[in-house]
């Protein structure tokens, strides 16, 4: 920390903030994907399907 000089706290907080926000974005997108897949699966299990596809929740 001392190698960063008198303003080390500003530098480390900046990098930590970027890491936190990027991690939050990745987590939000991953959770959203899981939620959409679960909803699609539930709908398909209840017998609702589109003309153009089979099981959409299993599509990549």
């Amino acid at each position: 920390m001392s190698a960063l000089g008198p303003y080390a706290v500003f530098i480390t907080v900046s990098y930590a903030l970027v890491a936190l926000v990027v991690a939050g974005l990745i987590a939000a997108i991953a959770v959203d994907y899981r939620q959409q897949q679960d909803q699609l699966r539930r709908l398909e299990e209840s017998g609702v399907t589109r003309r153009s596809s089979g099981k959409m929740s299993e599509q990549p």
């Binding site: 303003y7 500003f10 959203d32 017998g47 609702v48």
Partner: protein
Amino acid sequence: MFLARLANPSRFLTLTARVLPWLAVATVLVIALGLYQSWTAPDDYQQGATVKIMFIHVPNAWLSMFVWMMMSVSALGTLVWKHPLADVAAKAAAPIGASFTFLALATGSLWGRPMWGTYWQWDARLTSVLILFLMYLSLIALWRAVEDPSRAARAAAVLTLVGAINIPIIKFSVEWWNTLHQGESVFRMGGPTLDRAFLVPLFTMAIGFTLLFITLHLAAMRNEILRRRVRTLQMMQADGRTA
């Protein structure tokens, strides 16, 4: 044509499922290299070690504008060409662009305190970037407020194109007005004023963050396509159909 082939959401899902893992690996590797270069870069003779904030501040600032320009092209795709993925692309990009803009403002503020003696100054560059951040939030709110995706798409596309006026204002604000923010030091007539020891980590981080944006954006677009399929099926279920 590649874009025309991607117009099919199912084909887009298949293609991105193949590409995303490779993009994610490339993003991690390039950002890791950029971080190594940033932390081993020499101190600036005036700013000392605080120059390290530049390696994360500048890529976020560049991307905050790049994402809006990409959304503006998508807005044209929605209004003019009616490309089925144009609104999906814009809607998926907005929260990511807002995050980059927030990080540009926050890291700039944390860099400004030791260098300028203040976290914030209502000068042209800082204020125009704050307006960009507020515009991102407005767009996200608009998409959430209007239930019908096609109506929301048109309104959001118009707002995006109007907001694009702010991008050249941000870019040239340091030349048009007397601001506390430093002038252009990388993309300028006569070449960059930055030393190579700072330029190399800066460009590596910029490439890494651009790859990060592409990866997150493609993943978010996939989610948006799935969300629209869920909505279609829910409406069919409400109608009592299984077409």
